[in-house]
C-alpha cells in the first residue's frame, strides 16, 4: 500500500470512482459499494467500514466526490450521531447490526433525550426503564425529537435506578421505533411549523441486547452523543469543493438522494428565519426606501455590526485553533451572540416593514418570510441550550467563576421535580 498522503489518497479515490461510479445505480446499491470499499465513512475505523482517515484526508475524498457529483454515504440527520455513539460505546453486535444501514441510508434515527420536565436539566429524565425477563419495559414521554416520525431507531436515555443520584441512575438504549408502545405526535410551534415530535412510550419494549451503556452509565454515553452534536454544529462551515462541472453526469440516484435530503431537511426550513435573516435587512431597507429613516439606519447599522463582529469572533477562534494555540474565550460565545443578532434582526425587520409586519403569508412582505422571522426568532435563544444555560457555561467554564450551589444531590427519588 502506498504512503497515506493527500495526493496518494486523491489518486486512489479518483481511480476508484472512475471505475465504479454509476449515477444510475440505486442509492442503496451504490452505497453498499462505498461501504465495501471504505469510502462511505472514511473517518471510521478500518474494522468498521472506514479507513481511519484524518479530517484532512476526508476532505480530499469529499472534494473528489463533489468534483464529479458522485453521491456519498448518508451523512445527514441524527444518524451520524447514532453511529458515533455506537462506535464509541456499542457492542460489536450493535455495530454489525446498525452501522452499515446508517451509511446506506436504509435506517434513520432519532434522539430520545429531552423530556417535558427536563429541558435545560437533561439529566433530570423521568422516563423509566424496568427490566422484566429479557426485556426492558419503557414508560415515559420525550419531546423536541427531530425526525421521530420517520425514524427506525431511537437513542434512548431512561432511568433505571431511582435511588441513585440523578446522573448515576440513567441508562442508554437503542429502541425500535416501529412498535405499538411507541406513539409519535408532531409538536407544532408558534410559527406554525412542526419540526419536532413528542414521543409517548407506554410499555414499549427494548430487548436486553439493545442496552448500549452499562446500567447506570447512560449519562456518559449521552454526553458522547451531545459532544458529537456540538462538534457537527461547529464544523458545518467547511470549504466548498472545487467542482468539475464537466465531469458531472446526473442520474436517477440523484433524485433518490434529493428525496432523502428533503426528508432530512424538512424540519429545518425555518431555521434561517429563526436566525433573523440578516441577509435580507439591507435589501429590504433599500427596496422599501426605509433606509432613509434615521432610526432604521441606526438599527440596521447595529445589526450589521453585530453580525459582522459575531462572524469575525468565530473566525478569530478558528484562526487561533488552526495556529495550534489555545483557544481564547471567543470560541464559546457563538451560541449566545446568535441570540443577540436574531433579536436585533427582528427589530430591524419590524422597523422596515412597519405596518406590513402585521401581515403574513402571501400578504406579508417577501411572501411571508418577514412574518416568519418575527415569530421564529424567539426560538434561537432557547433551542440547543437556553441563553441562561449558555451564560452559566461561559461564567463557570470560560471565566472559571464558582458553580451554582446544587440542590439535586442524593437519591433521585427525593429530588424535587416537575
Amino acid at each position: 500500500m502506498s504512503e497515506l498522503t493527500a495526493e496518494n489518497v486523491r489518486q486512489e479515490v479518483r481511480a476508484w470512482l472512475k471505475a465504479n461510479w454509476d449515477p444510475n445505480l440505486s442509492l442503496v446499491a451504490w452505497r453498499n459499494k462505498l461501504v465495501d470499499a471504505g469510502w462511505g465513512q472514511p473517518e471510521w475505523p478500518t474494522e468498521w467500514y472506514g479507513r481511519g482517515f484524518s479530517a484532512e484526508l476526508v476532505r480530499v475524498i469529499e472534494q473528489e466526490f463533489a468534483r464529479i457529483g458522485a453521491v456519498s454515504g448518508a451523512k445527514s440527520g441524527i444518524r451520524l450521531l447514532a453511529a458515533a455513539t455506537l462506535l464509541e460505546h456499542g457492542t460489536d453486535d450493535h455495530k454489525r447490526k446498525y452501522l452499515r444501514r446508517i451509511i446506506t441510508g436504509e435506517d434513520t434515527w432519532c434522539q430520545l433525550f429531552s423530556e417535558p420536565g427536563s429541558g435545560s436539566d437533561l439529566a433530570g429524565s423521568t422516563t423509566r426503564a424496568d427490566l422484566q425477563g429479557d426485556n426492558w419495559i419503557i414508560n415515559g414521554q420525550k419531546v423536541w425529537t427531530t425526525s421521530a416520525h420517520h425514524a427506525d431507531w431511537g437513542l434512548l436515555l431512561a432511568r433505571t435506578d431511582w435511588d441513585a443520584p440523578k446522573h448515576k441512575g440513567l441508562t442508554f438504549f437503542v429502541i425500535d421505533m416501529h412498535q405499538p408502545g411507541v406513539v409519535v405526535q408532531p409538536l407544532k410551534q408558534m410559527n406554525g411549523h412542526a419540526s419536532f415530535n413528542q414521543v409517548f412510550m407506554t410499555d414499549a419494549v427494548v430487548a436486553r441486547e439493545n442496552l448500549v451503556s452499562k446500567i447506570g452509565n447512560g449519562w456518559a454515553v449521552a454526553m458522547t452523543t451531545l459532544a458529537h452534536e456540538r462538534r457537527r454544529a461547529d464544523g458545518l462551515r467547511s470549504g466548498a469543493a472545487d467542482v468539475d462541472r464537466q465531469a458531472i453526469v446526473r442520474g436517477s440516484i440523484h433524485e433518490e438522494e434529493a428525496r432523502e435530503n428533503a426528508t432530512v431537511m424538512a424540519p429545518y426550513t425555518w431555521y434561517p428565519q429563526r436566525a433573523g435573516r440578516v441577509d435580507l435587512a439591507l435589501p429590504q431597507a433599500l427596496a422599501t426606501g426605509r433606509v432613509g429613516d434615521p432610526v432604521v439606519r441606526q438599527e440596521l447599522a447595529k445589526l450589521l455590526s453585530l453580525a459582522s463582529a459575531a462572524e469575525w469572533t468565530a473566525r478569530r477562534a478558528r484562526a487561533t485553533q488552526q495556529a495550534g494555540k489555545a483557544q481564547g474565550p471567543e470560541g464559546s460565545l457563538g451560541k449566545l451572540v446568535a441570540s443577540h443578532v436574531a433579536r436585533q434582526a427582528q427589530k430591524v425587520h419590524t422597523l422596515i416593514a412597519d405596518m406590513n409586519s402585521m401581515l403574513s403569508g402571501s400578504d406579508g412582505p417577501e411572501n411571508g418570510i418577514i412574518a416568519e422571522i418575527l415569530v421564529s426568532v424567539p426560538a434561537v435563544s432557547i433551542a440547543g441550550g437556553t441563553d441562561e444555560i449558555q451564560r452559566n457555561i461561559i461564567a463557570e467554564r470560560v471565566l472559571d467563576m464558582p458553580k451554582e450551589p446544587r440542590f439535586d444531590e442524593g437519591p433521585f427519588r427525593d429530588i424535587p421535580r416537575n
Partner: protein, 374 residues
C-alpha cells in the same frame, strides 16, 4: 391642562374592572380565543351580544344623549385593558374604541353613534393607505359626488363590520364618510400575524358614501391620540397577563432540583420586568386620565404612552417566552398568543420611533410658542 390627573382609579372604576375581569375570565378563556382564531369572522357573536347586554361595552364612551353610557376615556381604557388581559377577540376595539373616537371627534351628533351604542351595528374605520401613513397628507382615496374611489389598507375588522367609516380626500380637504351599503366595495381579509386582530384591504370602486364631517388636522391628531391611548391600555392588559403567567410558571417549574424562580438571574430579570410593567402601566393610566382631564398636551402624553407601553410589551413577550423555555415556543402554549398581539400592536397607530419623534415635535412647537411642558 383643564382638570387634575387622578393617580388612582375610583372605587366604581375598580369595581368595573373587577367585574370585567371575572366576566372575561369565565366567558373568554384562551381555549375560546383559540377557537375564534379559526373562524372566518374572528370573533364570537354571542359573546359580543353578552358584552353588549350584560356590560354595555359598545356604548361605554358614547354620550348618554346618543344612548351610550357617557363614561369617560378612563372607563373605556379599563375595558380595553381587560380585553387585552383576556385577549378577547371582539369588535370592541374597531367599533367601540376606534369608530367612537372618530365620531366623537368629528361628528359627535351623527346618528350612527346611537346605532353603535345599542349594538345594532359594528363599525370599522378605513384610514391607512400605506404601511406608515399616519397623516392625512398621504391619502389618495377620494370621494367625488358621494362616490368613494381608492384603496385602504390595514382596516381593523374591515371584512366583517356592518358599517365603514372612511377618511377620504374631497374638494374641501379631508372628509369623514360613512359607507353602509356593500356595493362597489371589495373587502379582502388579509393574512395576519395575530389572528386575534383581523385586518382587511378595502377597495372602493365608486361606493356610495355619505359625509359625516370634515376633518381638521387637529381632529385627526386627536383621533390618533385617543386610539393610541386606548391601545396602550389594552397592551398594558396583555403585559400584565404575560407577567402574571410567567411569574407563576417560574414558581412551578423545577430544574436542577429547585424552582427556576429560585435562580438569582431569573429573580433579577423578573424584578426588571416588573419595573417595565409598572412604568408602562403608569404611562397608559396617566394618558387615559389626561383625555378626561382635557390635557392640553394630549399628543405628547399619547405618544409617550404608546411608545413606552409598546416597547414594554415586546420586551415582556420576549422575556415571557424565554423564561418559559421550549414550551413557550409551542403553538399549544398560550404565551405565543400574546406575543403575536404584542407584535401587531407594536406598529399599529405608529411605531415607538414615530411616536417619540412626535413627542419632540410637540415640545418644539410648545417651546417656539413660548409655552411650557405640562
Amino acid at each position: 391642562m383643564s382638570g387634575a390627573i387622578n393617580f388612582a382609579h375610583t372605587e366604581e372604576q375598580s369595581l368595573f374592572r373587577d367585574s370585567l375581569r371575572k366576566f372575561l375570565h369565565a366567558a373568554s378563556p384562551t381555549s375560546r380565543v383559540r377557537q375564534m382564531q379559526t373562524t372566518e369572522s374572528g370573533f364570537d357573536p354571542q359573546l359580543w351580544a353578552r358584552m353588549n347586554q350584560e356590560l354595555a361595552l359598545p356604548g361605554i364612551a358614547i354620550a348618554e344623549s346618543q344612548g351610550g353610557s357617557g363614561f369617560g376615556w378612563v372607563e373605556l381604557c379599563i375595558a380595553a385593558e381587560e380585553t387585552g388581559y383576556a385577549l378577547t377577540p371582539s369588535p370592541f376595539f374597531a367599533s367601540s374604541v376606534m369608530a367612537v373616537a372618530v365620531l366623537n371627534t368629528i361628528a359627535p351628533n351623527d346618528p350612527l353613534l346611537a346605532r353603535l351604542a345599542c349594538g345594532e351595528v359594528r363599525a370599522a374605520t378605513a384610514l391607512l393607505e400605506g404601511p406608515a401613513g399616519w397623516q392625512t397628507e398621504c391619502f389618495t382615496c377620494r370621494v367625488n359626488q358621494h362616490r368613494a374611489v381608492g384603496v385602504k389598507q390595514f382596516v381593523i375588522d374591515g371584512a366583517t363590520a356592518d358599517v365603514l367609516l372612511v377618511f377620504a380626500a374631497d374638494a374641501e380637504g379631508i372628509g369623514l364618510y360613512v359607507l353602509e351599503e356593500a356595493t362597489a366595495v371589495e373587502r379582502q381579509p388579509l393574512t395576519v400575524i395575530d389572528p386575534t386582530r383581523r385586518l382587511a384591504r378595502v377597495t372602493f370602486t365608486g361606493a356610495p358614501v355619505r359625509i359625516a364631517g370634515t376633518v381638521s388636522p387637529a381632529q385627526f391628531e386627536r383621533i390618533i391620540d385617543l386610539c393610541s391611548i386606548a391601545l396602550a391600555n389594552e397592551m398594558v392588559g396583555g403585559i400584565s397577563r404575560l407577567f402574571d403567567d410567567t411569574l407563576a410558571f417560574t414558581r412551578l417549574r423545577v430544574q436542577f432540583g429547585r424552582t427556576i424562580a429560585s435562580f438569582q438571574a431569573i429573580k433579577h430579570r423578573m424584578a426588571e420586568l416588573l419595573l417595565q410593567v409598572e412604568l408602562a402601566r403608569s404611562a397608559a393610566y396617566y394618558a387615559a386620565q389626561a383625555v378626561d382631564a382635557g390635557a392640553a398636551n394630549l399628543s405628547y402624553v399619547a405618544s409617550l404612552a404608546k411608545s413606552t407601553v409598546s416597547d414594554a410589551y415586546i420586551f415582556t413577550a420576549q422575556e415571557a417566552i424565554q423564561l418559559h423555555g421550549g414550551i413557550g415556543f409551542t403553538w399549544d402554549h398560550d404565551t405565543q398568543l400574546w406575543f403575536k398581539r404584542a407584535k401587531s400592536s407594536e406598529v399599529l397607530f405608529g411605531t415607538s420611533a414615530w411616536h417619540r419623534d412626535r413627542m419632540i415635535r410637540h415640545l418644539e412647537e410648545n417651546s417656539v410658542a413660548g409655552g411650557k411642558r405640562a
